[in-house]
Amino acid sequence: MSTMTMAKAINAGLRRALAADPKVLLAGEDIGKLGGVFRVTEHLQSEFGADRVIDSPLAESGIVGTALGMALRGYRPVVEIQFDGFVYPAFDQIVSQVSRMHFRSHGRLSVPMVIRIPYGGGIGAIEHHSESPEAYFAHTPGLRVVTPSTPSDAYWMIQQAIAADDPVIFLEPKRRYHEKGEVDPEAQPLPLHQARVVKTGQDATLLCYGPMVRTGVEAAIAAAEEGRDLEVIDLRTLSPLDDDTILTSVARTGRAIVVHEAAGSGGIGAEIAARIQERCFYALQAPVLRVTGYDIPYPPSRTEDGFLPDLDRVLDAVDRSLAY
């Protein structure tokens, strides 16, 4: 058991995966000597060699496309996209090739590949460095989309993602990279595709993921002071969604609020709201509410505090939900 940041936890998880399986490879821009711009791959090239921790030319489609080729020969590539906003040049390879190779080959081929993407805002960055592209990937059959919210989950989930035989979009909430938590390398981790009830509660269910889990927990604590007992769920997997955990909770509380940074329209919250109302119709005491980024491009960073869901916006939604 030790305390470490999420960035270090992913580093430790990658190290363990590299050590355990010679087929595991890392590739990406600046991941070698520099250890990545967030230092998530720090020291891994010197430990495992430049053949296994590969600095790639500056071309995301090339990175993903060649990784797919390596996967087809039995490797388990883990590629890093330097920032969320730079995944789009690789979009074609991801949605038309990586996600479908298993399907196209009638199940003969598989693509055990992980695409790591630091994502989300809140770090005062310039444009294209604070995006939340998860809905694009979650709408794409054949991909798995997961995101940890704590160092411990990050440590385990990256290893589980690497071990998975399907392509996994691994979203790393960059503004939580430097937050610390306990990591127990002997623990028995939760399965990759299961949501976690972070806090149980009776009055309403807060559904959040990645960078917003901390916000959700803080909101629950604040709400408790006002006598409101919120259940907080960390989704962890955005595709496939863990319907059981979500629906069981909302069936009980009758109220749900989804929180994410991405634009609301067509976001993960839309799918969750649609599912909940489909399957918990009679149990719902209020509409599923969404607290999300607005339907505008990520704004100049000095306005991001207003753009990103925060404690107050979540509590405001709780109020509105409970008012039904």
Partner: protein, 373 residues
């Protein structure tokens, strides 16, 4: 040849030819065909059968048995010649028109039909055949091939003392494909890692209705030099030259000397696909000019002139071809009908529970519906 020589735009190998359009063997200072006339007869056989497969598939489309077919008519030498250079550890990554390569790699042509009949995505076992899935998004497969080549480097299959231990990847794409970012990125990755890959571009002069001049103002093979590896142009209708050049390029790759771009200068004698109407955009005379360069005719002329083949040989081949055609016609209509319910199991290696229940619901719905009929 040195890299400098190979990448020089004025290099003399501008158009490598070993068998001219009239069926005469010609000398080239750098390349020669090392096989026997019997080997060439085997190539001719493959070319003839590939053309027959193509013709039958085209006919099957006309009869409504296939939704679409992209004919390879005219590109037999480029495909068979290059495929004959493929070694036992090599990987072949096609585009969507490589029916001749598929044939040489042992893919049952019936398996080719499934994709175009709509009964399957891609039917053959790409790993067993070392012939990857057809690829329909132009250019994407070039990166996959480079990745496979990078994997071979890591597998210790490159630059070994014993050439039998070495392998490489060869990837097929068209002249139009060279405009895609992915293809150029593939050049970059391959050059950067000196990956053992041969970029085999069939310049058939057209990308649907667009002439090669729209994609490149200069000969395509010269693209490679700017990325730091050799590019060569070969007479794509000359199976000897194609095989010799591909052999050389694959050897370079396997030996660890890095990528090569081969521009096989050929012609798409048919339509782009059976949905296309080339009279809208190209002169009939162009086709006539290229007919005079037919790859099968010239090889037949040559082999007859040397006596390697005779009427009996041709008659036997005709029989073989007829039997194959017959098998295709019969086989096509009896390809197994796909079941929608089966498709869910192919989306993920481990089917997520939500998707399993979606499949089950579909199945129940479809069954209830059948019952209601």
């Amino acid at each position: 040849m040195s890299l400098e020589e190979l990448t020089s735009p004025t290099a003399r190998q501008d158009f490598i030819q070993l068998l001219d359009a009239e069926g005469n063997r010609v000398e080239h200072p750098d390349f020669r065909y090392t096989g026997t006339d019997d080997d060439l007869a085997a190539s001719l056989r493959d070319m003839v059968l590939a053309r027959r497969i193509d013709a039958e598939a085209t006919a099957l489309q006309r009869k409504g048995e296939l939704g679409l077919w992209p004919p390879m008519l005219g590109q037999e030498a480029a495909q068979v010649g290059s495929a004959h250079a493929v070694g036992p550890l090599d990987e072949v990554v096609p585009s969507y028109r490589e029916h001749g390569v598929a044939w040489c790699m042992g893919v049952d042509p019936l398996e080719l039909l499934g994709t175009f009949r709509g009964t399957s995505m891609v039917d053959w076992d790409s790993r067993a055949k070392r012939f990857h899935l057809y690829s329909f998004v132009i250019g994407t497969q070039t990166l996959h091939a480079v990745g496979m080549a990078m994997a071979m480097q890591r597998d210790g299959l490159v630059g070994n003392d014993d050439p039998a231990d070495n392998g490489a990847a060869i990837v097929y794409f068209g002249d139009g494909a060279t405009s895609q970012g992915d293809v150029n990125e593939a050049f970059i990755f391959a050059a950067s890692y000196a990956a053992p890959v041969v970029f085999f571009c069939q310049n058939n002069q057209w990308a649907i209705s667009e002439p090669i001049a729209l994609q490149s103002r200069i000969p395509l093979y010269r693209r490679a030099a700017g990325f730091g590896f050799p590019g060569v142009r070969v007479d794509g209708n000359d199976v000897l030259a194609v095989q010799a050049v591909t052999h050389w390029a694959l050897e370079r790759a396997r030996a660890g000397e890095g990528p090569t771009l081969i521009e096989a200068y050929t012609y798409r004698m048919g339509a782009h696909t059976t949905s296309d109407d080339p009279t809208k955009y190209r002169r009939a005379s162009e086709l006539e000019e290229w007919k005079a360069k037919d790859p099968i005719a010239r090889l037949t002329t040559y082999l007859r002139s040397t006596g390697a083949i005779d009427d009996a040989w041709s008659a036997a081949l005709q029989d073989e071809s007829d039997i194959l055609a017959q098998r295709l016609r019969a086989g096509c209509t009896s390809l197994a009908e796909p079941q929608l319910a089966d498709q869910w199991d192919r989306v993920y290696a481990d089917l997520p529970p939500g998707l399993a229940s979606q499949r089950d619901q579909y199945r129940a719905y479809a069954e209830s519906f059948e019952e209601a009929r």
